[in-house]
Structure formats: C-alpha cells, structure tokens
Amino acid sequence: MAETSFWTGSDQYLCDQELAQAFHMARTLGMPLLIEGEPGTGKTELPLQYAATLNLDLFVYPVGSKSNVEQFVARFDHVKYLRDSQIEVLNAQREEKGLETKLSTSGRNTDQLSDYILKGPAAMAYSTPNSVLLIDEIDKAPREFPNDLLYALSHRKFVMPESGQVIQTTEEDMPAIVITSNREQELPTAFKGRCIYHYIKFPEPAIMAEIVNKHYPKADEEIVKVAIDIFYHLRRLGLERAPSTRELLNWFKYIKQHAKKEALEKINKLEGIGALIKTQSDLEKVQQKLFNTSSSDFGRRSNFN
C-alpha cells in the first residue's frame, strides 16, 4: 500500500500547508509533484526530509544540461560489454601461450546481458515499493528531456535496454515522485499536465521566523526578529538576485556565533552580508540605498519593528 498519510514536515523542515496538501494529493493519485518557486525556498528539501522522517528509500536524479532518459532509467554499458568480450579472447590467447594468470571480468558473464545494465534512479525507485524519487532542477535539462520522461512516468513501466527486461510498478507501490524546477525554462504543457503542480510562494515573515527556529532552536527571539526584518527589507529593494531562505539561514549561522548585543550590532551594520547579496551591482545598490540614508536611521527602523 502506498504511503499516503498526510505529512506536514519534520523537526528541521517546516512544510508549508499548501505544499503539504499538494504533496498528499500527488501521492494519493500516484502522480508526480512538480514544485516550482524561487531558488532557496526548500523545494529539494521536501522529498529529502520526507524520506528521512518516514525512513523510506530515496533516489535522486540531479538534472543537468547533459541529462537524458538513458541515465535516468537505465543504460546498457557497451564499453564494459566490449571489454569483457575482448578479455575472453585475450584469456584464450594467454592460455594458448601457457600463461596461467587470467584477466578478470569481476564475475560478469557476457552471456548474461543483464549484467551490463546500469540501472538509473528511476529504475531503482520503480523496483523499490514505496520509495521516494527526486528529479532535481528539471529546468536545466535539454528541451526534449521532459517529453521523453512523459511515457515513462505515465505508464509506470520501463523496458531495460538490450535485455528487454521489464521493470514496472503498480499504482499502490508507485514511488512518491517529486520534480523541482527554478523556472529557467518553460516546461512543455503536456508534461505539466501529467503532474500535480505547486508553486512555492515566498514565506511571510512570521513563517520565516518559524523556519529559522527550526534550524536554530536556541536562537534569541529578538535577534531573529531583527535579522528577518532586515532580510525582508533587502528583498524589497528590487535587487537583481533577491536573497532567499537558504541565504538567510547561512547569514544567521554567522550572526548567531556572537553574543546578543554584538549580534544585533552586526546585523544593523550588515556584517557578513556577502552571505545574502551575491552580485557586485546588488551590493552597490544596497550600500547606496541603505547607507545613504544615515545609518542611525536604519537602526531605528529595524528596532522599531
């Protein structure tokens, strides 16, 4: 029976209510969940945390510009196959010459085609009931990749190359499939149609405080508040690359090393801001906008909130 309980997050991971619902729906219907949203909003974390808390097998396929369905499902290792068959010839020759040592094929047999099949994450997940399959950053893939996946995903069945062996799963044993995308390219409509879609909206300050608390449970309330306040202020400046949750957490890691008073000071002076702002032009913009207004002004604003 598929794992279809309603999962709402773990100690380290605050799962947004809507996301939890979409994820539940996807698992109940046996469809992949496609998550889009700004970078650093915890898209990839969802399946990782889900698998970890429920102790399920996790298979990850990080997508890149060279991804193809073969890597994702399974491919036949022609190189190894050729090597082993050559080794057979060589061994025969060596025997003729009276040499005793033999070259090894590490137990593979060239008559056994399935020895040469390298299973990709998809084939592994489909042969493990109730596992979790993460296809990360599918928008980085070549344009035809999502369409190639369609067949595989909707038929719950893969045919292994060369050997013809079939790996299939039922709706009940279907792995929970999570696909993430940063929207760097539009995905084909037909592909999206086969998925349950969820767009992660950027969390509100109150939720953000909860997220920070999940990661740093001992953090001082006031420091969290001031840091988050400044964080959202930076996001409103209209930067080229607005800081995300991940970056806030990194910055916070730096801040929290210091005693409270020192930490507050560091926040107001935007120390360690390199963790939040990633481009030169953004940095200039921040400096111009925040420090042209006198710095005491800035401090007052954040203490006020």
Binding site: F6, Q17, E18, A20, Q21, A22, H24, M25, A26, T28, L29, E36, S65, K66, S67, N68, H78, V79, L82, R83, Q86, L90, P142, R143, Q185, E186, T189, K192, G193, I196, Y197, H198, Y199, K201
Partner: protein, 438 residues
C-alpha cells in the same frame, strides 16, 4: 457533473477539459474531496500550472462555485461583500442563535472565507488537536463524548464529513454549482445553517489549532491582490515588467543538443597504451548555438523609444548564454550599406553583411514606415537578398498592428518579410515561424 466547469474556466484563460474532470473525479474517489475548500485545493493543483494562473483561477473558482464575480482591480473582500451569496449566507448565519452577538463586517467576511475554504485537512487538524479521533476510526459517534457541547458538535460534524459517500458529495456539489442556496434540509448544502463549519473561533482556539483566517481564505485574498499571480500582458510593448516573458520567448532561438560521441583520439591513445586493446572511449558533446543579427532602424524620433528596451532584452540574453550576436543599424531602409555603430558612421557594405553564415537568426526591428519614394528598387532588391540569404529572418515592428495597414511601405515590406509586433507574444510567434522553416 460539472460539465460546464471547463467552459467557465476557459473564459478566465485557464486550460480545463475532460481530463480535468476525470482527475477531479478520481480525487473524489480517493477521498480527497469532502468540502468546498477541498475542491479549491484539488482543482488548483490540477489546473494551475504556473504562478500567474493563480489569480485567474481564484476568480474562476469564486465565480463558478459561489457566483461571486471579482472585477478587475477589485479586492476579494469587496467582491464578497456585494455578492448575493454572501448576503444570503449572512442572513442565515446571523439568524441562527447569533442574533444577539456582535459581528463586525470584517469578522463576517473572515468567517465566510473560513467556511468556504474549510478543507478536510483543517478538520483533521482540529480533530487531531482534540486528540480524540483515532487515525483509523472515522466514525467518532461511537466514542463516548467526554467534552463540552461544543466538542461534541465538532466531532459530529467531522464524522459527518468523513462518512459521506461519493454520490452524496456529487449531489451537494451540483447544488452549489446551480446556486440552490435557499432552504434545504440541514447539512445538504455547504454554506448556510450550522452547515459547513464544525468549529467556532473559540472552539478552534481552545483546541490550540490554528485554523481561523490562516488558511485558504487568506491565500485567496493575497492572490487576488497581487499582480504577480495574474498573467502579464503578452501583447503590450516590451517594458521592464514583461521583459522576462519576452526573454523566455527569445530563448527559443537557442539550438541546444547534448549527446555522447565516440572520442576517436582518446580511444586510439588509450588503446595503444593497453597494448592494442581498443575500447571505445566516449565523450559528452553539448551544443548550444545561438547566432543572432539585430538589424535596427534607429533613424528618426519614431524609433527612439523602442531601441533601449530592445537592446536591454538582447543584452540580458547575451549575459545568460554563450553565443554570437551582432548588431547593425540603418535609417528607414537599407540601400547599399548598414552601419555597425549607433551614430551610423562605420559603414558596412551590404555585400559584407550578406557574407554572414546563413544560419544566423536575423531580427529586423523597425517601423517600416517611410516616404514611398525612399523605398527604391535598389533598396527592395537588398531586402530581398537578405531574405534569400537568411532563411530565419523576422521583422519586429514596434508600431501597433492596427496601424500597419495605413502605411504603404509597411504593407509592402510585410509582404516580403513575416512581420510581427514587438511584444512578448510577437517575439514568440516570430521564433516559432523561424524554427518552422527548418
């Protein structure tokens, strides 16, 4: 069931069809749909496939299921307040043993939203919060009620929701869709009587469960108020806010391919090292090709306002992708030369321009409007040779498409080149046309 749903949702620019209904039905069979709020969630996850469809979707939902039409730029609260649905609901809500209570307008709207967006998840949350419900025992009636009256009511309602069968649900839904919101026997409609809300604000707070105002209603409100959740105007001239859409369209010119190829050199080298045992060595080859020529008419005031956004657009393109892009300028039309600088001092003879590789995508950006005598035979011949040389050529015209028919030279040039408006949608169409020719 819901036959009219796809048509209604289509009027809001959403794609909904028979498959949508099938998926909805399947969700019902799987027990995902028990309340009106559940329908909102389920349909949202099925229909909305990009963030800027969330706005139209919310509007369509309110229109279809609640007969609440939200006008352009109108806030959700306003739309709800003036709707007949809300008035009827309010009457009933206040009539029920609440006549003596004071309810502010905002409280009422919040309450209404809570009831509309109440989901099975909320119910489950309340129930879990009470620690009375066992996960595997949906029929709570049998358990001794050891709480207050209110607790009992909550449990009764929750049990009621989880116990209903599919046909009942379908029937209820149909009633909503048909707007039969008047007197019915208790519990057969979602909004009205004690109806759909098994909790009170006090009750929820007592159980320590956050429900009121925090759920779907709040989200719907936010979505309706935020332009980011509505589609950008694809037919508007390129500005900062629809630049990304234009950029996305422009990405279509990139030819991208990835494959594994036999690496002959390394196969031989390693084979020799192995003493003549040649094993194929593979290498990954990625091709990302984007060759672009921009041919911009920068003569005259009519073109001035368009040049900056166009350059900005292609500059962004350049920073994001490795590629080959050249820009040339002309004034009104091309005679025997184009220019490589904005001031039009560095002349490039047309022959040299035509010597470019024929795989370049050529975008001509200009209003094509000039005095008829300017478009001489020589000029026309040059346009024709550009078209012949570069099969992937498109003319992007910043003037609005309605005016094209009034200028003789525009009509003439649009017969030579495929002409598209300089808008995100125009660029998208131009690129589709370019790619089709190959």
């Amino acid at each position: 069931m819901f036959e009219s749903l796809p048509a209604k949702f289509k009027t809001y620019g959403l794609s909904a069809d028979v498959r949508t209904l099938l998926l909805l039905r399947k969700s019902m069979e799987k027990g995902l749909v028990n309340t009106l709020g559940d329908i909102f969630l389920v349909l949202k996850n099925i229909i909305v496939k990009e963030p800027n469809k969330l706005g139209p979707f919310s509007k369509a939902y309110y229109d279809y299921f609640l007969s609440i039409q939200i006008g352009d730029g109108e806030r959700l609260d306003e739309a709800i307040e003036r709707s007949v649905t809300f008035q009827k609901w309010k009457e009933k809500f206040l009539f029920e043993d609440r006549a003596h209570e004071q309810w502010s307008k905002d409280d009422l709207i919040n309450r209404f939203l809570d009831e509309v967006h109440l989901t099975s998840y909320n119910i489950q949350q309340i129930v879990d919060g009470k620690k009375i419900f066992e996960d595997d025992d949906p029929y709570l009636k049998d358990k001794p009620g050891n709480g207050s009256d209110q607790d009992e009511r909550i449990l009764r309602m929750a049990a009621d929701y989880r116990g209903v069968n599919l046909e009942d649900i379908l029937k209820r839904m149909e009633e909503i869709a048909r707007q039969q919101m008047d007197e019915h026997s208790g519990g057969s409609h979602w909004i009205g009587r004690n109806g759909i809300s098994p909790y009170g604000h006090g009750g929820a707070a007592k159980g320590g469960v956050r429900v009121g105002g925090a759920g779907g209603g709040k989200m719907a409100r936010k979505v309706i108020d935020d332009a980011r959740f509505f589609p950008i105007d694809m037919d508007a001239k390129i500005r900062d806010d629809n630049m990304d859409a234009a950029l996305a369209a422009l990405k279509g010119v990139i030819e991208e391919s990835a494959q594994q190829k036999l690496d002959v050199e390394s196969t031989i080298k390693k084979g020799l090292k192995r003493g003549g045992l040649f094993l194929p060595e593979m290498k990954d080859v990625i091709f990302e090709k984007m060759q672009i020529i921009l041919l911009i008419d920068n003569g005259g005031y009519s073109m001035d306002p368009h040049i900056k956004p166009v350059m900005e657009l292609f500059k962004k393109m350049k920073t994001r992708f490795a590629h080959d892009m050249e820009v040339y300028y002309f004034h009104n039309t091309i005679y025997d030369r184009v220019y490589s600088d904005v001031q039009r001092r560095q002349a490039i003879p047309i022959d040299r321009f035509l010597a470019h590789d024929k795989n370049y995508n050529v975008f001509i950006i200009g209003d094509a409007a000039m005095a008829p005598y300017e478009l001489t035979r020589l000029s026309i011949n040059n346009w024709l040779s550009i078209k012949e040389k570069f099969p992937k050529t498109a003319w992007l015209n910043p003037d609005s498409i309605q005016t094209w028919g009034y200028t003789e030279t525009t009509i003439y040039l649009s017969q030579i080149f495929s002409m598209f408006p300089l808008t995100p949608r125009g660029i998208e169409q131009a690129i589709l046309a370019m790619n089709k020719k190959n």
